[in-house]
Symmetry: C2
Subunit: 165 residues, 2 copies
């Protein structure tokens, strides 16, 4: 059984309501949000974004990786964004393991040596937000005049709280 067919079916009803309209490729608010893949965070709803408003980048933890920098450079230099929000959240999967234990698990269960991989786990969510804001600030590919903010999203209450560097 696959959920993909359900998504296709549900999407047909969404598309019927969507109608046809062409929005510009460049995000209206000029913001890119870097956040976690977590299933309990619906970014557009939680931040009040309309279609076309902001780029949304998501990976495990909402961590700043080379792929996030790649995406932000495209977002900024091709598509005009000027602001970044780093949004991590409470009760994150990235807080449930260590690299060493996870590498052992992958060796055991998949037969793959992932000993040199950093899966970017973290302990304190405010620290991880600050760490990633600092990585962005230090990147030569992110101009100094880009605004960078940070916040924590509470998956139990839906509330976002600012984190300062």
């Amino acid at each position: 059984m696959s959920y993909f067919d359900n998504f296709l079916k549900t999407n047909q009803a969404y598309a019927d309501l969507h109608g046809t309209a062409h929005l510009p490729m460049k995000p209206k608010t000029k913001v890119a949000i870097v956040t976690c893949m977590d299933a309990r965070l619906h970014v557009a709803q939680a931040l009040g974004l309309a279609l076309g408003d902001a780029h949304i980048l998501r990976n495990a933890g909402g961590r700043v990786t080379e792929d996030v920098i790649r995406s932000l450079v495209i977002s900024q230099q091709q598509l005009g964004t000027e602001e970044i929000v780093v949004l991590h959240h409470t009760d994150c999967g990235a807080q449930t393991f260590t690299n060493t234990a996870f590498a052992q698990q992958l060796q055991r269960d998949l037969g793959v040596d992932a000993g040199d991989w950093d899966f970017l786990p973290f302990s304190d969510v405010a620290d991880s937000v600050r760490e990633d804001m600092t990585l962005l600030r230090q990147s030569p590919l992110i101009p100094a005049d880009i605004t960078i903010s940070g916040a924590i999203y509470d998956v139990d209450t839906g509330r976002m709280t600012e984190v300062k560097v």
Copy 2:
């Protein structure tokens, strides 16, 4: 001026309606969706996802990178997902440049040598979906019994169409 303060303000109203409820960390549908950061795609709405339903991974283009593999391994081996949907879309920013031209632009505008970076642009969106589905299928970190589907989202109509490998 920063949009972050607007998001914080809008979020307070969202949180008031959200109430307090603890959903499990593991996604209910056991699906992870790999898609683009594009501002015109609201994944949860377009696929009919409720809070807690699915992991959503997003980068420029919705491309399968090392960071996406990192995130999917956590999604599958820590959080129990068993299905992946690769969802690219029409009118994508990744179709508007070449690596060579973009590296020249970054050298000129940022003074940074990005000559060896692959920003993962593509020409044909069905081909890019198939390419990324194949990368997932070939990764030793993605077990053979994981279901992998692909689709294209039309940003003008909101409609999703399946792509077969």
